[in-house]
Symmetry: C2
Subunit: 353 residues, 2 copies
Amino acid sequence: MEVTRRKSPVSTPGPQEPRRSLTLRDVSEASGVSEMTVSRVLRNRGDVSASTRARVLEAAKHLGYVPNKIAGALASQRVNLVAVIIPSLSNLVFPEVLGGISEELDDTGLQPVVGVTNYSPEREETVLYEMLSWRPSGVIIAGLEHTPAARAMLQNAGIPIVEIMDVDGEAVDAVVGISHHRAGAEMARRIAAAGYRRIGFLGTKMPDDHRARKRLEGFEAGLAEAGIALADREFYSGGSALLKGREMTQAILTRSPDLDFLYYSNDMIGAGGLLYCLDKGIDVPGRLGLAGFNGVELLDGLPRRLATMDACRREIGQRAAAIIAGRSTTGLVGGARIELTPVLQPGDTIRPA
Amino acid sequence: MEVTRRKSPVSTPGPQEPRRSLTLRDVSEASGVSEMTVSRVLRNRGDVSASTRARVLEAAKHLGYVPNKIAGALASQRVNLVAVIIPSLSNLVFPEVLGGISEELDDTGLQPVVGVTNYSPEREETVLYEMLSWRPSGVIIAGLEHTPAARAMLQNAGIPIVEIMDVDGEAVDAVVGISHHRAGAEMARRIAAAGYRRIGFLGTKMPDDHRARKRLEGFEAGLAEAGIALADREFYSGGSALLKGREMTQAILTRSPDLDFLYYSNDMIGAGGLLYCLDKGIDVPGRLGLAGFNGVELLDGLPRRLATMDACRREIGQRAAAIIAGRSTTGLVGGARIELTPVLQPGDTIRPA
DNA sequence: GTGAAAGCGCTAACAT
DNA sequence: ATGTTAGCGCTTTCAC
């Protein structure tokens, strides 16, 4: 049995005994160069003669050496990871944000690591703690609402933090997003201007989806400007969004047949509602107008284009990543606040004003 | 200027100088207990008196200490990370697999870390290298096709490897998936049995989507059993799948108006095709039958249920994660081969046999 | 251009 | 129940 940990000869490992990974020392011995020089070659640092470099690379490749970033990170106090914390991956929106982040990070040597919270503040706290314990170079996190503990961790992390998606609130550090309140209000004004008066809201019942909540609040505020109050509302949670959209639409129209507009908290349930209306032969947008939110690509394939607002998902990811990348280069600190402006796309489901 | 690295006094950090993170030593000093005991408390290891434990936890919490997993991993030679390497996040299928993985890993102390390859073998190789350099406890990777270098890395990693989604080929270690060849063949037999004879295939043009390719091969083999050859085929890539489905359907029906069945390589383009047919008033499934692949939840909201086959996405994730979790506990080695059986769901778009 | 020494923050192993 | 010692595999720093 081995007792000492180091210098154990690389005897053939026993049957069930996990093989030891190769180390710099192995490459060093195989190439007859010091560990230090091997390290330099592998990181393209400092001056190394072409011949040495070739010899080292050859040895490393031949052995199948994969550097140990754990040791590297510990020694250099540098980790090329960016923590990305989002509520969900099935939401369609977040993979797109992620796409923007990856794209922007691609040439920086930084790598995103994704954590998913399922819209639970407690899970967010856990995930954040877990990720911070790997000492990432930055954090990109969805939303401005966090538990006090999570907020404290973000503040004390000593790394750039970018809160994304939403700008309606107090940021810890930098923030990139849109105002969901304003987005809701803008849609409300457009609807009111088009002459719709009996307006219903349909949303997923997500106590922790603050952005959907803010859109609704903004929407009601916008309607109020025109002296209109929300006539009815319908909430669901879970399941296929498209199907839920159908069911909710049927439910609300059965209960309040005089509604002339339906505002959905996202495009997927909106699309379900649209399909339902077309099925039932309801005149859209004449008898009934419809609008969603997000501007998802999926809508392009529907029989009619649902009115929506682009949430600038990809750009949000890019800008957030750019902030992290920029700071990790310059070392500068200071919280930018970037508010993007979503564009209202009336599509075919709002009648002209 | 500091020269020694250790024992540097915790003087107030300068304005732009990144703060040093708290260490075990800080907690040790604050609580008046040795670093080792603090470490034990924080990991719930060994016997620590209730009073000491309380004191340590209090100190750690008060300071806002977040353990440094990099150092911990290096010292313990243990990393609670599982590398998950998938082609895409926008494919709808992979987030579901991920869901299964997370769920299964949740109580094991293991954490998934996701890497995305965009269906590029070279990118897969890079991502794999990057992830292996963090010395994860296991790898879950989509598909059986890898570059020789990637395959070598997997073989030499000395950790459990689970290749997922597909079982048609040679696995490095364990494998969990379905036979896409068989899935294609089964659908072909069903279609032939229903009396369809002029059959077209529509797929995304993905040279590296081996599973779609295998389904097509199986499909053709299945048709051949009934003496049928594929009458036409149509390929596209990129863009909104739903919209592409529409366009491709229009294209293939224009070119080959006598087709009586369309087999799509995935449900999204199939759904687009279905919407197109309904728009055009084509009699489905009488005049024209349709089928997709995957069994995505989205289909539930469509006007008609598209025929499909469930790809067992969630279960694949669960089983794969269970293999990794099991091995990291038992230390046993040995490649399981788990073939799941997808179920054909005829929906409303294949006429009865 | 190359090497030697020290130590990153933590934990395994062995005292006590 | 708690402390001490010696690294984990790499990079920083300084010397040659």
